[in-house]
Subunit: 209 residues, 2 copies
Amino acid sequence: MFRALVVEDQTLMRLALMNEVQASFEKCVVLGAETLNIATVELQNGHFDLVVIDPGLPGFDPTSQGDRVAVVDRIIEASPSAIHIVVTGSDNRCEADGFRRIGAAAYLGKTGLAPGVFNDVLDDISTKGFSLRLSRAVMTKPDYRFSVLTPREQEAIDMMAHRAPGVKRKEIFSLMADRLAIDAGSAEKYYKQARAKLMRQGHPLPQGL
Amino acid sequence: MFRALVVEDQTLMRLALMNEVQASFEKCVVLGAETLNIATVELQNGHFDLVVIDPGLPGFDPTSQGDRVAVVDRIIEASPSAIHIVVTGSDNRCEADGFRRIGAAAYLGKTGLAPGVFNDVLDDISTKGFSLRLSRAVMTKPDYRFSVLTPREQEAIDMMAHRAPGVKRKEIFSLMADRLAIDAGSAEKYYKQARAKLMRQGHPLPQGL
DNA sequence: CAAAAAAGGGATGGTCCCATCCCTATTTTT
DNA sequence: AAAAATAGGGATGGGACCATCCCTTTTTTG
């Protein structure tokens, strides 16, 4: 059984990261620790295959480079056989190099760390040995979230809203079909159903219909 | 239709906050913006009832108090009729006062901002006019997440694992029944089913069974 | 114009989860 | 010893969503 540990003090972020890990490994157990103390106890009591670490933990100075390295170092030494992924909000290339030197397999900025990226990171690690994803803002339009839509319908609206100009809807349906491993006709159906729901409720649709 | 905007650069956190907002308002639309520019455009184009803001945005110095205030101020001025909630990782009481003075209705630290807290914050706002939740680490045990469990089963395991010593399981079932608005017998069933699944797969159970 | 793309809808079977009610041993408390 | 709590099951109906296949009309594009 694949076992992972997420060390992150921000609750919503910790839960989101745990979700990402779960999405990447079909059968697994994921533990979430809010503090280094909790993490240390768990690392002593059990074996882990993967550890995700945010170095900015309670009780440490987030601006002190020494504190940040100390946190990661302690965790890596407590779980030498695990893969270690560092996730941080204040990322920079210099720090990435530092963590790489002490054994981290990936260094990720929180900005741009979206659902699914975790999978790519794991691919990077197994093929290249290291994954570096620095923060950068890339959105040009907002994301829309409608409570009336099912996840599939929401997905369809999302992808269509981000359609590049000149791209046919059919192409988006194919893309969606690929990504979700479903039929293109089904993808089209979800989009149309979603659109109909929003129209019925008088919603101002995101641009791109 | 209730309309909300979440301004936060960290994607996973933004999505999580959007989820929290959705969970608090049955029928609603939630927009997510990664940058102040995107947010500003949306605020000009439409009316919003609620705006959630993380002042640490790309293009601004997260250590500069002036930049942080400027971000929130610009958003509040662009949506004077909305409720404004400031969410930040580096929270302190002093900054909270500052944002309250310029019109924010709540100031939340990301540590300890868990699923469901958002609801309480909205209650605070409507009863007391302001909600302050500073970060503090409160966990003493890790959270466990098992991919084999359904959400309900996971919930049951969670609550039982955090059972205070001396508390009867029956009481936990009642509590769970209350929180999920279901029958206590059903809650008991979920727990037993979850436990059986974990045992069958040879999982080391979290303490507290 | 002809062909392709898009809008708009109806019907279907399957699956997973929710929620409930039922039952019997075993253990712990009182 | 009696009562309560716990462990361990089986069976059921309903609902939401998934995924598919089918259909017609309008619009856009080549």
